[in-house]
């Protein structure tokens, strides 16, 4: 499942809670004047926070009349004789469930976030995509088993376009599986900081040739690439992935100090200039087992 930002999760869970605020509504008795009235009121009393609501709706009791939102919290005496005060949803609807809920109270203009709706329906990935995700995580698990670096943690970086694995391998305190994987991408691109053995980069030598032929510079860092890692990355690795412009991260087991859902949600941290998508629980049982094997 995807690790969403708290604000997104709150929006989703609040769909059942219903968030309402008071607004003032008046009746338009002469329908012909509607457009003129609406134009005027929008100019003088814009609905900033309630811009997802339609300004006017038909009056369910009086077919020849319309109801119009005047304002939120309008405290002028001038409004005292305006009929009614109704309850209504405050938040912009982001998923269809919320929309259905909200329109019971007042019509909304609705822009469905299709991506979030699909995530909530658990239909985000196709069967083929799930198979590919599992295959890549299998690769990370086998790296974990043979890793000379971080104990029992494996990471691979993959170019999802060509499905080539850009993978990873004297102990170095900063050579976490993710840092190693990032440096192997750099090595393939003609850089690199750790002169790591390239014995496991077979698949990628080929790709790097293609990159060099097509484009002298290659992709910028890890732009467009996916990372598969058996355990949730720590804060150092999570930030290294921000600097490297990774596109997506898939991990197996959560870690209490992990930075992509457990202790922090760095991928959606405000103030940071690059955000990536994070999916957790991929082959989680097998990844958990790797961790349990140490203890």
């Amino acid at each position: 499942m995807e690790v969403l930002s708290d604000c997104c999760e709150n929006n989703v869970s609040s769909s059942s809670k219903k968030q309402f605020i008071d607004i003032f509504v008046c009746t338009i008795k002469d329908k012909k004047k509607t457009s003129e009235i609406v134009k005027n009121i929008c100019k003088h009393l814009p609905l900033d926070k309630l811009s997802h609501l339609k300004r006017v709706r038909s009056n369910t009791n009086q077919a020849n009349e319309l109801q119009m939102i005047v304002a939120e919290n309008y405290e002028d005496d001038f409004l005292t004789n305006i009929p009614g005060q109704i309850w209504l949803k405050r938040m912009q609807s982001i998923v269809i469930q919320q929309y259905n809920n909200a329109v019971q109270y007042w019509p909304c203009s609705f822009h469905e976030d299709k991506r979030i709706t699909r995530l909530l329906n658990r239909s985000f990935f196709s069967t083929e995509e799930v198979n590919l995700i599992h295959k890549n995580m299998e690769e990370a698990i086998s790296v974990a088993k043979s890793s000379a670096y971080q104990l029992h943690i494996g990471a691979v970086i993959v170019n999802p376009q060509s499905d080539t694995i850009i993978e990873t391998e004297e102990k170095h305190p900063l050579q976490h599986a993710v840092m190693v994987a990032i440096d192997q991408v750099a090595t393939v691109q003609g850089g690199g900081m750790w002169q790591l053995s390239d014995k496991c980069c077979n698949n990628l030598q080929e790709e790097s040739c293609c990159i060099q032929k097509k484009d002298k510079t290659g992709p910028y860092l890890c732009t467009g690439y996916d990372l598969y890692v058996t355990t949730e990355p720590c804060i150092m690795c999570a930030m290294a992935l921000v600097h490297s412009r990774i596109s997506r991260v898939f991990y197996g087991s959560p870690h209490p100090e992990g930075a992509l859902g457990s202790k922090y949600k760095l991928h959606v941290q405000s103030g940071i200039n690059h955000h990536y998508e994070v999916f957790c629980d991929v082959l989680q049982d097998r990844c958990n087992k790797l961790m349990n094997d140490i203890t």
Binding site: P173, L174, I235, C237, H243
Partner: protein, 174 residues
């Protein structure tokens, strides 16, 4: 500026010389210097462009040099890190703050805040957070010659604009 040891100031001056050198060669002007047992044992500056590795920040470069220093002098690198003081012209980023905790450096002294990526409080307080499996917390002394650090960064970004780089690469990552 905080009142502090003249020794710290002297090391910081030296760290600024490194940052200025970096600026002259067109790199992000961040310098860092590690002092162990009263002696300079490692320096670092940003090497992102050369290595095509966006994690190659000054602090990471310097950590690698301490490992090399320890090996060459037959010292236990863990023990060396635990006695080190790191001087750096800009607040370490979130990644580097994590790396400094991982190698157990106890104290960092830095110039100006890093509003984009700062890991010692500006964006996240990685230096002091409860992260036992990463390493002990990191003590920070901030705002040491901050104006000079800010001016250096300003000069760098001004220069970038003048050159109007066609490739965004060069402006990234400090």
């Amino acid at each position: 500026m905080v009142t502090m040891d003249m020794e710290h100031i002297a090391w910081m001056e030296k760290t600024f010389d490194l940052a200025e050198e970096a600026l002259k060669s067109g790199e992000v002007p961040v310098g860092c210097l590690l002092v162990y047992d009263g002696k300079e044992i490692a320096v670092g500056r940003n090497e992102v462009n050369e290595t095509k590795n966006a994690t190659r920040h000054a602090e990471i470069v310097a950590i690698d040099k301490v490992l090399k220093f320890s090996e060459e002098n037959d010292l236990d690198s863990k023990a060396v890190f635990r006695e080190c003081i790191l001087y750096v012209t800009v607040e370490p980023c979130i990644m580097c703050a994590g790396a400094l905790r991982q190698v157990e450096i106890p104290l960092v002294i830095y110039g100006c805040a890093n509003d984009r990526f700062g890991g010692c409080g500006s964006i996240l307080p990685v230096h002091s957070a409860e992260l036992p499996s990463l390493g002990p917390s990191l003590q920070c002394i901030s705002n040491v010659m901050a104006e000079r650090a800010i001016q250096l960064l300003k000069d760098f970004y001004k220069g970038q604009n003048l050159n109007a780089p066609e490739n965004k690469r060069k402006v990234k990552n400090c």
